[in-house]
């Protein structure tokens, strides 16, 4: 049997109002959507709430709507529904692609879009059983004093490892939140914090205690925008990304590979999904070998893989550059030959 979780009362409200009433009554409660992240953490006693509010019966948080220039995704929409939605596939194929690369089919059928964005940060010293963490003197993120990844510091390096966030970041997604205190809207970028403990409510834009993510709003990209998501993992199912990279190019002239605007974001290598800065010099430039090198340089500046997974951080660091190449190749096929040749001779 798995380790037992601490006992809790399960509540199953049928509406957001009911959920808010429950949260007012039981302030230590946690929301449960698909459970693919939370249930594991309950059994590992990373979370020990007295009450759990299961959201499955709240029907109006499920579904995808296209309204003018906006895509609205209910937080309870399953990852597989996002991946399979024809309009998502047509208008934001990179989101469908990223969703389709989350874990494996059974997890995608249970896991939700909201849960994927609210995914707790991950670390090899944190995602362990109570016994294991205790035998390792716990850690900064939960019950302990020391970060085993960087023992000298007071910073938590646990990595955000969701697949859909980097794509949504590049599309300026906004989140609709509600708590017993009221509703608000934040950008996805301000939702996350730079310290791995943001998930427990350290950031102004992040989830406050008792707050619930209702919907994700995404402005649809204009024609001539292209976006791809590249995921590195050992197994082509189940695994979280070792590195995930989204690259978006709004072409000024696609045939000539001339860039109108370019944006890139990383996941799994920082405590939050991180937009890569310093890409302005590429505006108006051609997506060629020099542009690839610039993108690699900037990505390496942003991505800081640490010993948060069982894979070697040096390998993950090297792979950031490789994923840049793979993403660029998909946007500009002509780069394939020169990049492969370069790899052979590197």
């Amino acid at each position: 049997m798995t380790y037992p979780s601490a006992p809790y009362d399960l509540h199953q409200p049928a509406s957001v109002d009911e959920a808010m009433a429950l949260m007012t009554r039981y302030p230590d409660a946690l929301y449960l959507a698909g459970g693919t992240d939370l249930v594991v953490n309950l059994r590992r006693r990373i979370r020990e709430p007295g009450h759990v509010i299961a959201l499955r019966r709240i029907g109006d948080l499920r579904g995808i709507a296209l309204d003018g220039g906006h895509l609205t995704i209910g937080a309870l929409t399953t990852i597989s529904a996002v991946a399979a939605h024809p309009e998502v596939q047509r208008r934001m194929p990179a989101l469908a692609e990223a969703a389709g690369l989350v874990a494996g089919p059974t997890i995608r059928n249970m896991g939700t879009q909201g849960g994927n964005l609210c995914l707790d940060t991950r670390c090899r010293y944190y995602n362990q059983s109570f016994f294991w963490r205790k035998a390792n003197d716990f850690c900064l993120k939960k019950d302990g004093e020391v970060c085993h990844v960087a023992p000298g510091g007071s910073f938590c390096w646990a990595a955000y490892s969701g697949d859909t966030a980097p794509v949504l970041l590049l599309h300026d997604a906004e989140l609709e939140l509600v708590s017993p205190q009221g509703a608000r809207r934040v950008t996805l970028a301000e939702f996350y914090g730079s310290d791995g403990r943001w998930s427990v409510g350290t950031e102004p834009g992040g989830l406050r205690p008792g707050e619930l993510l209702l919907r994700v709003h995404v402005p649809l990209p204009p024609a001539g925008a292209a976006c791809v998501y590249e995921k590195l993992r050992v197994r082509d199912s189940i695994d979280y990304p070792l590195v995930g990279l989204a690259l978006r190019v709004d072409w000024a002239d696609e045939a000539a590979r001339r860039i109108g605007a370019i944006a890139m974001a990383l996941t799994a290598v920082n405590p939050r999904p991180e937009r890569v800065g310093g890409l302005e010099p590429l505006t108006g430039a051609t997506l060629d070998m020099a542009a690839v090198a610039h993108l690699q340089k900037q990505a390496h500046r942003t991505g800081k893989p640490m010993r948060t997974t069982v894979a070697d951080p040096a390998y993950r660091r090297a792979m950031i550059g490789t994923l840049v190449e793979k993403a660029c190749t998909r946007l500009a096929r002509e780069l394939d030959g020169p990049l492969m040749e370069q790899a052979r001779w590197a």
């Binding site: 059983s129 294991w132 390792n136 197994r235 390998y315 793979k326 052979r344």
Partner: protein, 807 residues
């Protein structure tokens, strides 16, 4: 079919009889006798129950009053236990029993030389996760809280994860009886190794490393213990490969006569070696049930499976190989260090296997082996599919390719020049009788188009070849028992059914099905009349269990004997009923008839009536013991390990695609040929061979257990990355039948021998694809990527791209 329609096609009775007798005689002479129930694909008799979820595993036994057992584990890698106070736990509501090391004074262990474990730690803990105390309570959370209330005071000691540190002078001793933390040192030399190297034109010496891997079987360990207070007896259902070891160990640990213990093995969801040894949790379950005077269910978590472990040890191999210019191997010298973990377990056997099976696949007359099994403060290692041979075979078959390249020879041709001439006795006294390896090689070369591909595929794509072998059971039982290795009984009763009783543990490998096929074939009765009752100590005869691929050959031979005796009774009864000699009687469908006069028939149920009318229920028995000539040498220590009645052989070709930018290797396809002697159940043989290949792939590509601060870093199936269906290549399986004269109908091992070859075949394929040799397992993206980086450094000297620089 009614009487009178037979022989209707114009042939006289006499003609039919002649045709029949001639056919039988001819088939026997040519060895082409048609089998009825063996040699044909037979779905496993428990397959539907398993795949529909109807089958019951140990954890599925629910008794209304059952308590939940949970184990308190050591948070220290090495520490003296100063005190344990369980009073607060015992005082808690819902807690029915607490046990600690004080509840047992007898250590247990399968090997007489390694009985160093107690069910619960006494005086010292030796690894993080070791069992210190256990609780039986009304529910899991109560048990968990009771564990938290147990006060243990520890005095930490220096601990070791690296065997080379544990072996160093001045290291803290982990076991009192093992100075220097050496569990076993082996020093064997056969032939004249120095002379062999002197006679060699080329000598290679390389180091290889294989990290620790675990079985990752689907079903975690589970037991249900039921204490009968009235009779002072224990019944234990548990997920084991060897109920007999559990039975003996429970008796020792609980101080309870064996006659008062019943061990039942329900369905088992995979073992692969980890359920061969009796384990602490089984002992703890028995102790808790007795102390609580009730029923206790103890199912461990996946993480706890990593602590129970008994997997393949981390292995450092230094291999030296000498060869003449024309490709004749002259000498081999191997030095192996295995990180054994905190207890002996099967370790002595593992370190001996690693040396013994350097032999019995190629003809090498000069062999030196030096092995160290080292104690460390990590969970104990033990038997795992391909026990002891896999990491050494990885090194050896990788090195054969390196040697071939050095000599300018074809890598497979080098192997072919060093085949055994069989039957033969190897330099370390292993009898090799049947030897289908040459045929395996040829079949794989042909089916994989190896020679059309090797060295000729585009950059990034490659093909690799390797071979391996394994024993069909240990000729000498490791616990030094003198009883027959296998006993089977069979019962024919009033209902006309035949029940086969065997202690052999069906663990998913298909043993019950194959025994049924063998019995049906020998007697000539349809399998529909059979039931197999397996592994219940109160009902079935004692058996040494399912390990070292012994069951098909050993229990199969015992089944043949029991079935022959049953056949005699059955045909004598039928002959009596037909008023004829037994030799003139044949069984067709459910009817006996005379060969000389097919119109004379007797229904099966009438035969049963006649057979039972003399002495009632018919019971027959068959036994098997290994022939003395297969027992291995007697003039050196450790000679019993490796010796077997027969060896299986495997050849494999693996094709890969390597992404040089990520180091990711895609296995595109595998061609494997396995010599199993004779495929009693070809469906099952294919399943076993595919499973072996897959498990070799798992170890070869991505599995590893590494420790930090004494804890396994990936004690779950998300981070312990065995392959998923996405990584599973198409496997073409070719069955080779060398007809082992000592096996039932010629059969021998099928379940392990094809594992080891995959690993070196993969390394050889990667080398063919990109010219880079990786000697550290697993050949994971990061290892392959790092090796590519190294090759690039070398390239800076030669100014060539990586493939050319490596080739």
């Amino acid at each position: 079919m009614s009487r009178g329609t037979r022989g209707a096609k114009g042939e006289s009775k006499q003609e039919r009889k002649i045709v029949h007798l001639e056919r039988e005689a001819l088939q026997t002479a040519l060895g082409t006798r048609q089998h009825k129930y063996i040699g044909k694909p037979q779905p496993l008799i428990d397959g539907v129950d398993k795949s529909t979820g109807r089958g019951k595993y140990s954890g599925d036994f629910n008794f209304p009053d059952a308590l939940v057992g949970r184990i308190l584990r050591s948070p220290h890698a090495h520490a003296r236990i100063v005190s344990i106070d369980v009073s607060a736990a015992l005082a808690m509501e819902g807690v029915r029993a607490v046990v600690t090391g004080a509840d047992t004074d007898t250590p247990f262990g399968v090997l007489p030389v390694a009985r160093d474990e107690y069910a619960l730690a006494k005086e010292k803990v030796r690894y993080k996760g070791e069992e210190v105390a256990a609780v039986a309570a009304v529910d899991a959370w109560t048990a968990e809280q009771a564990l938290a209330a147990i006060q243990v005071v520890y005095e930490p000691l220096r601990s070791y994860t690296d065997p080379r540190e544990a072996m160093a002078d001045g290291a803290e001793q982990i076991q009192p009886h093992k100075p220097g933390n050496i569990e076993r040192e082996v020093d064997h030399e056969f032939g004249d190794v120095d002379a062999g190297f002197a006679a060699s034109d080329a000598i290679l010496e390389e180091e290889f490393y294989a990290p620790e891997v675990t079985h990752a079987q689907m079903e975690p360990h589970a037991a249900v213990g039921q204490w009968d207070e009235q009779h002072g007896r224990l019944t234990l259902w548990c997920s084991t490969q060897v109920p007999y070891y559990v039975h003996m160990s429970l008796s020792a640990v609980m101080g309870l006569d064996m006659s008062q213990i019943r061990v039942i093995k329900p369905m088992v969801g995979g073992g692969f070696g980890c359920k061969t040894e009796a384990q602490s949790y089984e002992m703890i379950c028995g102790l808790l049930a007795r102390k609580a005077r009730g029923t206790v269910k103890l199912v461990v978590s996946r993480e706890e499976v990593f602590f129970a472990h008994r997997g393949r040890p981390a292995t450092w191999t230094r291999l030296r190989l000498g060869c003449t210019n024309d490709g004749r191997l002259q000498a081999v010298s191997a030095e192996v260090i295995q990180r054994g973990g905190a207890y002996g377990g099967y370790g002595v056997v593992t370190i001996l296997y690693a040396g013994a099976l350097l032999n019995a696949i190629y003809n090498i007359r000069n062999v030196r082996y030096k092995g160290f099994r080292v104690l460390t403060n990590t969970p104990a290692n033990g038997a795992m599919r391909g026990h002891g041979t896999v990491d050494t075979r990885f090194a050896f078959e990788s090195m054969l390719d390196m040697m071939a390249r050095k000599l300018g020879l074809d890598a497979v041709e080098l192997r072919k020049r060093n085949l055994l001439q069989t039957p033969t006795m190897t330099v370390n006294d292993l009898l090799v009788n049947s030897y289908g390896y040459p045929e395996c090689i040829d079949k794989v070369l042909e089916a994989s188009h190896y020679h059309a591909k090797v060295g000729k595929l585009p950059f990034g794509k490659g093909i690799g070849f390797a071979g391996s072998h394994y024993c069909s059971g240990s000729a000498k039982p490791v616990n030094r028992s003198h009883m027959p290795h296998a006993v089977v009984t069979m019962k024919l009763d009033i209902d006309g059914s035949i029940t086969l009783f065997t202690g052999a543990a069906e663990i998913g490998q298909g043993s019950s099905t194959v025994m049924m096929q063998i019995a049906a074939e020998v007697i000539g009765v349809s399998p529909a009349r059979f039931r197999v009752v397996a592994a219940d100590s109160a009902i079935t005869p004692k058996d040494n269990g399912s390990y070292s691929s012994r069951v098909t050959l050993y229990v199969g031979n015992a089944t043949v004997q029991a079935a022959e005796r049953m056949r005699d009774v059955v045909f004598q009864a039928a002959a009596r009923g037909l008023n004829a000699f037994p030799i003139d009687v044949e069984l067709v469908g459910d009817e006996f008839r005379l060969i000389s006069d097919p119109d004379k028939t007797l229904p099966f149920k009438d035969m049963v009536e006649i057979a039972l009318s003399y002495e009632g229920t018919i019971v027959t028995k068959g036994t098997y013991a290994t022939p003395k000539i297969t027992h291995g040498g007697e003039n050196y220590r450790g000679a019993g390990i490796g010796a077997s009645p027969a060896f299986s052989y495997s050849a494999q070709a693996v094709e890969v695609d390597v992404d040089i930018r990520t180091g990711k290797v895609t296995v595109e396809n595998v061609t494997v040929a396995h010599d199993c002697g004779f495929a009693l159940n070809p469906l099952s043989v294919r399943g076993q061979v595919e499973g072996s290949v897959w498990m070799g792939m798992a170890q070869g590509r991505q599995e590893e257990t590494n420790y930090e601060n004494g804890l396994p870093l990936a004690p779950n199936l998300l981070d312990y990355r065995f392959p998923t269906i996405m990584e599973s290549p198409p496997i073409e399986t070719i069955i080779v039948e060398s007809n082992e004269s000592g096996g039932p109908f010629g059969a021998k091992e099928a379940g392990e021998g094809s594992l080891a070859a995959f690993l070196p075949a993969l390394a050889n394929a990667i080398h063919d694809a990109i010219g880079v040799r990786v000697k550290d397992l697993p050949l994971s993206p990061e290892k392959v990527h790092a090796a590519i980086q190294q090759a690039r450094k070398a390239r800076k000297v030669s100014a060539a791209p990586i493939a050319e620089a490596g080739r």
